[in-house]
Amino acid sequence: MAEHILLRHRDIPDIHELDVYLSNGGFDALKLVVQKKTPQDVIDIVRESGLRGRGGAGFPAGVKWGFLPQGVFPRYVVANADESEPGTFKDREIMERNPFQFLEGVAICSYAAQAKLAYIYCRGEFWDLAHELESHIAELRKEKLLGRKLFGKDFSLDIRVHLGAGAYICGEETALLESMEGKLGQPRLRPPFPAAEGLYGQPTVVNNVETLTNVPPIINRGANWYNSIGTKESTGPKVFSLSGNVERPGNYELPLGTTFRKLIFEHGGGIPNGRSIKAILPAGASAPILPATKKVLDTGMDYESLRKIGSDLGSGSVIVVDDSVNIAWLAQKITSFFKHESCGKCTPCREGTYWMSRIFENLENGKATSEDIDLLDSVAQSIVGKCLCALGDFAAAQVVSDIARFRSDFDARAKDGK
């Protein structure tokens, strides 16, 4: 793609400096909306653009903003920068290299939500990045791009950075809010959704970093420009994080709907060491595995197409698996990740991930038989659809799909533990 819309630093390397960002049209969008548009106008534009949440669920951002209950204040905006999904590293690049576009997105979202305070929730390991963001925010305050009565209008905004403490589950929006409130990071029962009762029980918009980074260009160039990119239902550009057994891992900004083949072979340079591709994890650990058939490779990476072939786009972190890998080994790694990260609030996930891990260990130690693989499958099935949040389902769906699609790998591991 010629021009980067999100990874703009690839075209303008110094865009992380405020004056460079400003001289390249930075904060024009914020100024425009604050001076010329109502919050509802902004919500309408974003809804028309078709922008969908990039944090995993793909929920239309404009629709979510429209859910804020009338007349209830204060409201908050929270940028979800917890980025903990295995193989996902897009938000980090955006925040490190193109931070002001993200911050401008936060500000526009806050204007639309009529929030005076926005938070950026960074995963605990992002502490250095968090400090950088804080100094960027200080610059914005100095330049009166944040603060009271912005652009001479009755809109005030401040942004604060909050550091998590190292839990994957705190990327789930309601666990994130609990964590921000200083409580144990466990998801809340939904409904109520954060838009109705979020941070401190107030209406709150939670959006992913990448989602928000899309907002300034949408305002600058219009909804029609934006929804001409990508597919009909999955509009716009997406940063795909490519990793695993691939020549050139990294982030690639491509229109939604780009095929796996194009990403992996054209951009990623194919599979190293003369190996061939065996499988694809399209969304880190959190979506069912796909065997790398021709049909799969030619599938467009968008929300609808992936659902059609029995997986999910999630956060768009594509992990490539070559033929040297036993899928049962991979499944064990992923299960042990989920076991470690399960918050423990609900029974199926807390107990189920632990039980599955034990079966995997037996498999590894040569203590398991084919019947244990059936048991594993049955345990995973018994978790599916019963959990309080999506993490438990991710964990179970992974094992179910691994066994369904690569049973022979499990049988082999049962035999020799490899």
């Binding site: 839990a167 589950i169 144990l184 990071g185 466990q186 029962l189 076991k339 470690h340 990260e341 399960s342 918050c343 423990g344 609030k345 609900c346 029974t347 199926p348 807390r350 107990e351 189920g352 991930t353 632990y354 039980w355 034990r358 037996n362 048991l375 018994s382 978790i383 659809g385 019963k386 959990c387 309080l388």
Partner: protein, 838 residues
């Protein structure tokens, strides 16, 4: 208030319930049981355990017309979702079809229980909960017969983790339902336990020092759906199925919580029947399904080894006490009383039952003497007139209502009232807390009023002024009293709790009178959920007033003047006030009836061993004037008699009255004589009504192990204003407050004092209060005192050395000392304080 209703079918049964009812409760009302673990009807739903999964079908809605789609028979088309849903979090919807016992739902729940069991040790044979365990019952009913989870794969965790002195955690058994944490956070606002870690490592930890510091901790062991939480009192003590259960009433404070005494005959106790534990018995109008830890853990005194077991008499003054037969003892008593020729005084404590108090009153009356209560708080007659009426339940108070608490620290004096008042405030009731110092209830108050110790009654006059605009009251009004008076007069329902902190007999009398007048003037008497409640220091003080036994305005010293004989029942005046010892010794003939050889008993000519409340039947009338019955749980030692029984025998021997055969018969006498009690009789006290939430069914997981109430909810007395329209109320002429003393030493109440009933608890020991003098920081500086230093306090010609603690919550000019810890102080006194150099 009518509520919108919703109809739906659950397993084919049509049910109609109020909007917002959770499916699990709707099913329960239809007699369909859905297993739950994390859900508890008294707690907010959290949907954690996932045990209550059901299939929910909703009428299909046409997207364009937004109308219900109908099939060719005109019936709504029902759509079922792809997932099972938690019935404990989902409120009912009109026309829904819920399937609890469909194949899919049953299989789903079977899978969840199997998952729960993977981590559970299943050590039922050695588990305290075995026999009354929801998990055990559910596993038997719905669980798999065989484990698919390898035993060696189980995670093994610590089994004896103390969460403080009272509650122990078995980490292996915990199923992480968070009922305990949520109870502490949502219901009692003592968030002292929490989860730490995550996933399978999730663990309950205590955050307080000392551990699990809450007056309500025992309740978590009732609602814990497994045997993960046990009490220091009961753990490993017995198996639930070996226990007998006897209904009783907590004797420790004026709330009158309904309890169940679990007893067992055991070799360990030389073949005696002993109390193994005290459990809450449901009475939604009194204690719901809760108890405070004092009620639960301070029962050991009743079966103490130190109990008096035989009558003893002293043949010579200052002679030795020698054992005798009951026959002799009664003869001796009769002779002693005859010799007094009517100069007799009965002295009773507020722990005696109505029957005892009535019998004492009757005897004294017959002898030409009188009976008084050993207490210094007054106002019982105003509670009789303007008390809360039948139908009162603090749980009904909320938005639009108002509660005034004055001169009482409810958290320490009546914990369950504190809890329920706090909850009413959380439901939106206006809460006015008035006291000379901050108390814990302040945190939930909408209005806080401060006054100087002693002038509580004046502050109420200030409020009254706003309502009756009487000129004389001008001087007591302030901006604050004006504001809260408006709140009171605007409220739909008003309940006033008055106590006696810092007040003597006269001051508490005035306070009660003014509160009653305020209630009457603002139209808040004579109906349910309105009226005056006394925060008495004992369980049956109100009953004593009702039986005609009240404190003497001048105190016992005045009452004893000129008496030749005194008859003390269920009280230890000499123990409470050593100065009374010589006065008691001065009467010619002193009779003491009680449980222990107290200071008063040591001075007596006859000591008669009484049965404790666990050995006999009787009734108490609580501070809200609900008469409640307790039953014999333990066969008494042969040498002991019930107080009423002894008194009735003496009265019979003296030809005053015929002996009464039973406590029930005494109650019949009471009903015949006392208009207020005309409807009270033992069968009426034993009447029940169905209560929500259901507890005690085979689904004990629903409400916990609190016992259901089959023994009676008691009778709420009708306040006299409801009957007698001619009662009028007027405020008490304000008393002049003499000088403002330099230092006023004020006795305050602490729940865990060292009174006889508490100090014998086998588990509360580490939690008992320590005697300290609490001093304001500025006063401490003025006096040259240091924190944890030693001071000498002088009053009324006595001296005592005390350790002092500097505490900013103490009002300046006052020093506070907890009652029943060694400083004999009935009411506030002027003191001199001198620090002692180290």
């Amino acid at each position: 208030m009518s509520q919108a209703l919703v109809s739906l079918t659950i397993d084919g049964v049509e049910v109609t319930v109020p909007v917002g009812t959770k499916i699990v409760d709707a099913a329960k009302q239809a007699g369909i049981e859905i297993p739950v673990f994390c859900y508890h009807p008294k707690l907010e739903s959290v949907g954690m355990c996932r045990q209550c999964l059901v299939e929910i079908g909703r009428p299909k809605i046409d997207r364009s017309t937004r109308k219900i789609v109908r099939d060719k028979n005109g019936d709504p088309v029902i759509e079922f979702g792809p997932k099972l849903e938690t019935s404990c979090t989902t409120p009912v919807g009109e026309g829904w079809v819920v399937l609890v016992n469909s194949e899919r739902a049953i299989e789903g729940r079977r899978q969840v229980i199997e998952l729960i069991l993977t981590s559970h040790p299943l050590d039922c044979p050695i588990c305290d909960k075995g026999g009354e365990c929801p998990l055990q019952n559910m596993t038997m009913a719905h669980g798999p017969g065989k484990s698919r989870f390898l035993y060696e794969d189980k995670m093994h965790l610590a089994k004896h983790v103390p969460l403080g002195d009272l509650i122990f955690l078995d980490r292996e058994r915990c199923i992480q339902c968070a009922r305990c944490i949520r109870f502490q956070t949502e219901i009692v606002d003592d968030p002292v336990i929490a989860f730490s870690e995550r996933g399978r490592k999730l663990e309950i930890v205590t955050l307080s020092e000392p551990g699990f510091a809450s007056y309500f901790s025992g309740n978590t062991t009732d609602i814990c759906p497994v045997g993960a939480l046990t009490t220091a009192d009961f753990r490993f003590g017995a198996r639930p199925w070996e226990l007998n259960a006897t209904a009783s009433i907590c004797p420790h404070c004026a709330v009158g919580c309904n309890t169940m005494l679990n007893t067992r005959r055991e070799a360990r106790s030389q073949g005696r029947v002993v109390i193994k534990r005290v459990m809450p018995r449901q009475n939604e109008a009194v204690n719901e399904i809760w108890l405070c830890d004092k009620g639960r853990f301070a029962h050991h005194f009743a079966s103490s080894e130190e109990r008096l077991a035989r009558p003893v008499i002293k043949l010579k003054r200052r002679g030795r006490l020698t054992a005798t037969t009951w026959e002799n003892a009664v003869k001796f008593v009769v002779e002693g009383l005859q010799a007094a020729h009517g100069a007799v005084l009965g002295i009773a404590g507020g722990r005696a039952s109505n029957e005892d108090l009535y019998a004492l009153h009757r005897l004294m009356d017959g002898l030409g003497g009188r009976a008084v209560l050993h207490d210094q708080m007054a106002g019982g007659e105003f509670v009789q007139q303007a008390g809360v009426g039948p139908g009162t339940n603090l749980a009904d108070l909320g938005s639009g209502d108002c509660i005034l608490v004055v001169a009482s620290d409810l958290h320490e004096e009546a914990p369950i009232w504190w809890l329920r008042v706090k909850q009413a405030a959380e439901r939106g009731a206006k809460l006015i807390v008035a006291n000379a110092r901050p108390t814990r209830l302040d945190a939930h108050a909408t209005h806080i009023l401060r006054y100087d110790y002693g002038v509580a009654a004046h502050m109420i006059l200030g409020m009254l002024h706003e309502i009756n605009h009487q000129k004389e009251l001008d001087q007591y009004a302030s901006a604050e009293t004006k504001k809260v008076a408006k709140v009171v007069s605007k409220a739909n329902n008003v309940v006033v709790f008055y106590g006696s902190e810092g007040l003597d007999y006269a001051a508490s009398h005035d306070l009660a009178q003014n509160c009653a007048t305020l209630l009457a003037a603002s139209g808040h008497v004579g109906r349910a959920n309105n009226g005056l409640v006394a925060v008495w220091t004992h369980s049956n003080t109100q009953g004593a007033w009702d039986m005609g036994v009240h404190p003497e305005p001048g105190g016992l010293a005045a009452a004893l003047k000129g008496q030749k004989a005194a008859y003390v029942v269920a009280a230890d005046p000499a123990g409470d006030e050593p100065l009374l010892t010589s006065l008691l010794e001065q009467v010619d003939f002193l009779i003491v009836q009680g449980l222990f050889l107290t200071e008063t008993a040591l001075a007596a000519d006859v000591v008669l061993p009484a049965q404790s409340f666990v050995e006999r039947d009787g009734t108490y009338t609580n501070g809200m004037r609900r008469v409640q019955r307790f039953f014999p749980a333990i066969a008494p030692n042969e040498g002991m008699r019930a107080d009423w029984e002894i008194l009735s025998a003496v009265a019979a021997a003296m030809g005053i009255d015929s002996a009464r055969p039973s406590a029930a018969a005494v109650m019949q006498d009471i009903a015949a004589k006392n208009r207020d009690y005309s409807e009270v009789n033992y069968p009426a006290l034993s009447r029940n009504a169905s209560q929500w939430p259901h507890v005690g069914g085979k689904d004990i997981y629903f409400g916990g192990t609190a016992h259901p109430n089959h023994q009676g909810l008691g009778v709420q007395l009708t306040p006299r204003v409801e009957r007698q329209k001619d009662i009028s109320f007027d405020w008490a002429a304000p008393r002049k407050i003499a000088h403002k003393p330099r230092y006023l030493m004020v006795p305050i109440t602490k729940l865990y004092d060292r009174g006889t009933t508490v100090v014998q608890s086998q588990v509360l020991g580490p939690r008992l209060e320590i005697l300290r003098l609490y001093v304001n920081p500025e006063d401490a500086e003025r006096l040259g005192m240091i924190d944890e230093g030693e001071v000498e306090v002088q009053w009324d010609g006595r001296k005592q050395r005390l350790r002092s603690v500097i505490d900013e919550h103490v009002p300046s000019g006052a020093v506070l000392v907890p009652r029943s810890l060694g400083v004999p102080l009935a009411t506030a006194v002027d003191v001199k304080i001198r620090p002692i150099a180290l």
